[in-house]
């Protein structure tokens, strides 16, 4: 196979940290080369050097026999490299077709003027969209598309630019299972066409399925490159973390049903009817998980419990005492916390450093007069931040660092830390491990178990079934705004959960 791009001894230093310490990496035609490593290992940084976002401190990049000491974004584009970042860069206000050809729209003469040739755009766009399997009119505005469709537009954009190398940085982090399947179909097709694909993901199952070779990084250093057909998933974990990790976090002999109920929701409905008549109980020591398709009502219910969205009916009890949650502020005051699903939109404050982000919650929780009275204590702030940095193993050189300088997974850990710092009685985790590496995941699962053992209520929403299966004592399945089934972890399997979440109304579950 032909080598398309080769990186040799690449070093990248940021003030205070060496993100890449002499990494060599190559991309061949017709293969999926997986880049694996813990949070902050340097994966995104390595790819940002290829796309021209970062300039390497030293090292060499060879494309088609030509050597560069660094690439500008224009070099990168001209040499056929496209990157699909996790934060998609399609322009919502433009149509699909315009997005594909942005920057080099085909023009036509109209008397004295040149105008954009829309019929040409649409013709060419249609062909490309077919390749990526997106069944949409090129004239559709991008804002109408789902996340996975936007991602398909990004891939189509790479094809429209005639890219030879397509880099995907955690493309599956926000996709559902079926969307991942269609992404893989596209990737296989691109392989057949001789493209080189770089695939970054923390989901090992996916990596085994789609990858050809894997390169593992650790703390900016090179660990090794292997053919995936010759290794197992456990080998990957060992290469990456240096040890094996536990698969289950339940106490086998524990019978929580005899424990007191510490949290209860009765007959909860949302004003917009996205959640209807939902009831559940949580016992001391139990971890309760919520499964279901996207939009089936899991996060929607959590938002209502947390007071972020209006309810039309329902009662909520902590330790048997009814609480009213009319806003997140009142919910927090009553002892609830909710790790929100989307860290960029509802999670962190880009203008705050790590310590300030983490201390927002404890400060609000201890304030009076509707959240406005009280003074800020720098000492408390530093202490809370250090505690969470320690507990969650956040990789940063100082808690006075801006969150935007952290790697994706470490940003997610800051969000977790922010909510854990509030020391709440009941903690809702909505997709808590998005973008977090396997080693840290296992630490977070142990942490959740510890919280439950200490008598805190732990509720988890997750689209990753293996995650729910390995940590939850009970799994509730949502379908169309209702809980349709509760599974004890001993009887729960991927198959029966998927069946319950997709079965038709009339069918027996």
């Amino acid at each position: 196979m032909k080598t398309l791009v080769e990186m040799k001894n690449v070093v990248k230093k940021f003030p205070g940290v060496t993100a890449l310490d002499g990494i060599s990496f190559d991309i061949r035609s017709g293969e999926v080369h997986v880049l694996l490593g813990e949070n902050g290992a340097g994966k995104s940084t390595l790819m940002k050097i290829l796309s021209g976002v970062h300039k390497p401190t030293s090292g060499e990049i060879i494309i088609d026999g030509k050597a560069f000491d660094h690439l500008t974004p224009h070099d990168s584009y001209k040499n056929g490299i496209s990157v699909i970042y996790q934060e998609l860069s399609v322009i919502n206000e433009l149509s699909i077709g315009e997005n594909l050809f942005i920057g080099r729209l085909p023009m036509k003469k109209l008397g004295f003027f040149e105008t954009v040739d829309h019929s040409e755009i649409n013709k060419r766009a249609r062909e490309i969209l077919e390749t990526v399997g997106l069944n949409r009119d090129p004239k559709t505005a991008v804002e109408e598309l789902s996340i996975s469709e936007k991602q398909q537009v990004e891939i189509a954009k790479a094809l429209a630019a005639d890219s030879k190398v397509i880099i995907m940085d955690e493309p599956t982090a926000s996709l559902t299972n079926s969307e991942v399947e269609s992404l893989f179909k596209i990737i296989r097709r691109l392989k057949r066409d001789g493209k080189g694909i770089v695939f970054i993901s923390h989901k090992l199952g996916e990596i085994m399925e789609i990858g050809d070779r894997v390169t593992v990084l650790k703390d900016g250093g090179y660990v090794g490159t292997k053919n995936i057909s010759q290794i197992t998933q456990d080998d990957l974990v060992t290469m990456m973390v240096g040890r094996q990790i536990s698969k289950n976090y339940q106490h086998d002999t524990f019978d929580f049903e005899n424990e007191p109920v510490i949290f209860e929701v009765a007959n909860l409905s949302r004003k917009d009817n996205k959640v209807r008549d939902v009831s559940f109980k949580l016992h001391k020591g139990e971890i309760l998980g919520f499964s279901g398709l996207v939009g089936s009502g899991r996060s929607e219910m959590m938002n209502a419990i947390f007071g972020a969205e209006p309810k039309s009916a329902g009662r909520i009890f902590i330790d048997g005492e009814e609480i009213k949650t009319s806003s997140p502020y009142s919910a927090i005051k009553k002892g609830l916390a909710m790790v929100t699903e989307n860290r960029r939109e509802t999670g962190f404050f880009h203008n705050f450093d790590i310590a300030e982000n983490i201390s927002v919650l404890p400060f609000v929780k201890t304030s009076g007069a509707g959240g406005i009275s009280g003074l800020v204590s720098k000492k408390d702030e530093a202490q809370w931040a250090d505690e969470q940095k320690e507990k969650l193993n956040i990789k940063c050189y100082s808690t006075k660092q801006l969150v935007s300088e952290l790697s994706g997974g470490n940003q997610q850990k800051v969000i977790l830390g922010k909510w854990l710092a509030a020391d709440s009685k009941i903690i809702i985790f909505d997709e808590p491990t998005k973008g977090i590496d396997v080693g840290s995941k296992s630490e977070i699962y142990s942490l959740m178990r510890r919280l439950a053992d200490e008598g805190k209520g732990v509720l988890v929403v997750s689209s990753e079934l293996p995650e729910l299966l390995s940590i939850c004592d009970t799994i509730a399945v949502f379908r169309e705004g209702k809980i349709v089934k509760f599974f004890n972890h001993r009887e729960a399997t991927e198959e029966n959960i998927i069946h319950a979440s997709t079965a038709q109304e009339s069918e027996e579950i």
Binding site: A308, P328, Y329, I372
Partner: protein, 320 residues
Amino acid sequence: MPTKTKERELTFSQAWQRYGTLGILVLLLVILAILRPSFFFKTSTITQILSQSSVNILIALGEFFAILIAGIDLSVGSVVALSGMFMAKLMVSGTSPIAAVLLGVLMGALLGFINGILVNSTGLHPFIITLGTQAIFRGVTLIISDSSAVFGFPASFSRFMAQRIFYVPVAAIIAIAVALILAFLTKQTKLGRNIYALGGNRESAWYSGINIKLHTLIVFVISGICAGIAGVVLLGRVGSAEPAAATGFETYAIAAAIIGGTSFFGGKGKIFGVVMGGLIIGVINFGMNLLSVSSTLQQVVMGALIIGSVTLDRFVAGRK
């Protein structure tokens, strides 16, 4: 293995963010000192610059909060005029100056409160709301004053406002006091922290238990109070309440905040920067008067300065 160092060297862009405005101010003063040394090295010059900048700094301090939550307050000039007119009317009709001043500042707070309530209840951008109230408040000023100036304040008021303590005019002392209180609010209180959070990310703020409407309301009340206090200082300096007073002052206030490093996108900025921004504008105005630059040309310079400083800031901050 990554090599981690505890301390990292201050990059140029960070140094710029921290000391840039102070540097510009010093630079301007040096230029002025070279061009007109005879004028410059007189204590009266400093006194004059301070006293002239006070009104603008006071308004800008309030404007700062409106910009901090990614909003804006265009009504500040009208609030200065209306609360000033209200005070003047009270004083000439025999109310004691102290009571009149307190009621006037309270009027500023009330007008800010109205802005806040309108922003919260309509959900419209503060730009639109305060563009509207700018006209309304100005209209009310014209109505209650019958479109004519009010003067003849008690001597105690005029004398107090004209005082100097160690060459520092009362107006400047008031501005400094307000700035110190607000610096304390932004740095040391949860309220201040929450306002920065709200400016950084509204959604995150809401999920973190920060009451968005309450904080928005407080921000506009602060802006109103600052404008009300600026109204007091202006009355003291001019000696009369003009219905057209402080017209266009919002431009200078916004300029001071922005030159001082406040981000228009919200969540970033410092009180110290705003004071520096206000002084920079004050020095430029003073300098142009000293060099007898025509007032029309002064406008051009001021406009260019706003665009120039923000561009420079962007450029040096390295955000492409």
